[in-house]
């Protein structure tokens, strides 16, 4: 469902051009739980931005659900992010002024959803991540683990084909991080959602069915 072929990305820093991704090829099947692991500076964040359609590769091909997506225009990329990708960030990135429920509903707003059944859908997902009783709480009233659960519900709300998690446990202590990983595993096992986790932590990577190790802008295995 996701195919990267010889993806390259370089940035121009002053007069020199720095190539961060030097030909990444990767194929991920529907329903996989993959981690992309590597030390900081290996280019995994850049790769995550490209997979998440927040950035465009300099060259190479990126097929999502059988269609080339990398070079589409900005609006189309926004639409694909909205419809097919669910993001989970290290720092949760919930909007502090909104309640948990409103945060979960946010992606639906950009679908032009009139909100008829979005409330039920969001509540259902909050229940799914064990946060139904906190629906009306704001992020600052929630613990880190709880915020990340809300963020996962938000990632799921649009029924995406891919969950893209960037260091999802990076800001959490080991126990809570473990719970979050369990949640990913359950979602993957029970609902067959494709999950890609970007991490520098081998302990996290080991919990995934497949690990892609990145070093110096290429994937080693």
């Amino acid at each position: 469902m996701l195919t990267l072929r010889d993806i390259r990305k370089s940035y121009r820093i002053g007069p020199t051009e720095v190539e961060v991704l030097k030909g990444v090829s990767l194929e991920i099947q529907q329903g996989e739980l993959v981690s992309i692991m590597g030390q900081s500076g290996c280019g995994k964040s850049t790769l995550m931005n490209i997979i998440g359609l927040l950035d465009r590769p300099t060259s190479g091909s990126f097929m999502l659900d059988g269609a080339e997506v990398s070079y589409s225009n900005d609006d189309t990329l926004s639409e694909i992010r909205n419809q097919r990708i669910g993001f989970v960030f290290q720092q949760y990135f919930l909007l502090s002024r909104l309640t948990a429920l409103e945060n979960v509903a946010l992606p639906l707003v950009y679908r032009g959803d009139k909100g008829t059944n979005s409330h039920e859908r969001c509540m259902e997902l909050l229940k799914r991540v064990g946060m139904a009783d906190r629906a009306q709480h704001r992020p600052n009233e929630l613990s880190g683990g709880q915020q990340q659960r809300v963020a996962i519900a938000r990632a799921l709300v649009g029924n995406p084909s891919l969950i893209l998690a960037d260091e999802p446990t990076g800001a959490l202590d080991t126990n809570v991080g473990g719970e979050i990983m369990e949640l990913f595993k359950t979602l993957n096992a029970e609902e067959g959602i494709t999950v890609v986790i970007i991490t520098h932590d081998p302990g996290i990577a080991r919990q995934c069915k497949r690990v892609a190790v990145m070093k110096d802008g290429v994937i080693l295995s």
């Binding site: 931005n49 998440g52 927040l54 950035d55 900005d74 609006d75 926004s78 639409e79 992010r81 909205n82 419809q83 993001f87 960030f89 990135f93 909007l95 002024r97 509903a105 946010l106 992606p107 707003v109 950009y110 679908r111 032009g112 909100g115 938000r154 649009g158």
Partner: protein
């Protein structure tokens, strides 16, 4: 792309930075407020003047002796030397107008005097003498508060009738009884025989009725320095148009053959002229208001720019979740429009309040101008869009990755 949740969002984010929001609003409130106040004061003044005109009646012509200039065309032989020294209109000639011009029902010539006026040795301020005929009272729609007005039997008498302002002045100077008080005009003493009722200011009269000391015109012509009849108020007969009556008077004056010419003004002309003046006034004031609005708009722009900078991460998050550039632009535009609409709303209240106060103190009849309110709403809307567009565009052009990384 306006989504209902955007409105809620906008309100919430404006509330989140109350202090800044309020500060930005002040500019808009003052801007819109002054536009509203000025436009509606303009309207009030206009309506007030028209009201007073109508009170005086629209069948009144003002006939004035023309100074200088050449005679009207079609009058060959008009003495060129006449310019500044045209012969004065004689009282008898004027009083004959109603009998010679069937279109004129009555005339009230007047002559203005000058010089010191005193009562019991104390100088009276803000008053001025005027010689009039008995018909003057009715034609000028004046009414008596006390005593009587001058009659045709008062020719050459030393009686006078005073306006309400003069009466107040006299009382301030210690007159125990108004009627019978003696006022000194130059070398002559005049006995007060009547007091006229107070008249609201403005209108079509070419004099301040409350500040007048009326004497009989024959007396005036005799005792005032350089006295000459300069202004005649005439009432048009029923069934005659103002234009017809004017033509008759013109013809009559021309038939005198003394090179005399008069200028005749009808209420319609004065109203039209006044409306034009008010229009200019309103435009001018509107322009001043617009300048304060630009200042207010720059305030809004500033607030929105700060808001965009502060909310870069939020913008990044929204973009990651699928917001298009247009969505982000729309979100910030809605915020700036709501911001200026709130300002506009307070501005409208402020402006109406201010114009009410002005009307109250000027003793004008207050009138709510709906066009001013519409203007206020429209203008604040436009200010929001115009000054919000640049910040909103900046927000929409942020690179999502950069935006997400900022804090």
């Amino acid at each position: 792309m306006i989504h209902p949740s955007h409105l809620k969002e906008a309100a919430r984010s404006l509330l989140a930075s109350k202090q800044r929001t309020i500060l930005a609003l002040i500019g808009i409130v003052i801007g819109i407020g002054s536009v509203i106040a000025m436009v509606s004061v303009g309207r009030i003044v206009q309506e007030e003047s028209l009201r007073q005109f109508k009170e005086m009646g629209t069948d009144i012509l003002t006939i004035e002796k023309e100074f200088g200039g050449s005679g009207p065309p079609g009058m060959p032989g008009a003495p060129a030397a006449g310019a500044a020294a045209k012969a004065a209109l004689r009282l008898a000639t004027i009083l004959a107008i109603p009998s010679r011009c069937p279109g004129i029902a009555a005339v009230a010539p007047s002559v203005r005097g000058s010089g010191d006026i005193s009562f019991a040795g104390k100088k009276l301020e803000r008053c001025s003498p005027m010689g009039v005929t008995a018909s003057f009272l009715d034609i000028n729609k004046l009414t008596m508060r006390k005593g009587r007005f001058l009659s045709d039997l008062d020719e050459q008498s030393r009686y006078c009738v005073i306006g309400s302002q003069v009466a107040a002045e006299l009382q301030k100077q210690g007159a125990s009884q108004l009627l019978g008080s003696k006022i000194r005009l130059g070398d002559n003493l005049f006995t007060v025989i009547g007091v006229t009722n107070e008249v609201p200011q403005g209108g079509m009269r070419r004099f301040e009725p409350n500040e007048m000391i009326y004497v009989h015109i024959t007396t005036g012509l005799r005792v005032f320095a350089n006295a000459e009849i300069q202004s005649i108020t005439a009432r048009v007969s029923n069934g005659t148009t103002n234009n017809a009556a004017r033509d008759q008077v013109m013809a009559y004056v021309a038939s005198l053959g003394k090179g005399q010419t008069v200028r005749i003004t009808s209420p319609e002309e004065i109203i039209a002229q006044m409306e034009k003046q008010m229009q200019m006034f309103t435009l001018l004031l509107g322009a001043i208001g617009s300048i304060s609005l630009i200042v207010g708009g720059v305030g809004v722009m500033n607030v929105m720019l700060v808001s965009v900078t502060e909310r870069r991460r939020e913008i990044g998050i929204r973009r990651a979740l699928g917001a298009k550039r247009g969505d982000i632009r729309g979100q910030f535009l809605i915020e700036s429009v709501i911001l200026s609409l709130i300002g506009g709303l307070f501005g409208i209240i402020f402006g109406i309040g201010a114009s009410w106060l002005i009307a109250h103190f000027a003793k004008w009849q207050f009138a709510l101008s709906f066009s001013a309110i519409l203007l206020g709403v429209g203008v604040s809307n436009a200010v929001g869009i115009f000054f919000g567009y640049y910040p909103a565009r900046q927000a929409s052009l942020l690179d999502p990755i950069v935006a997400l990384k900022s804090d």
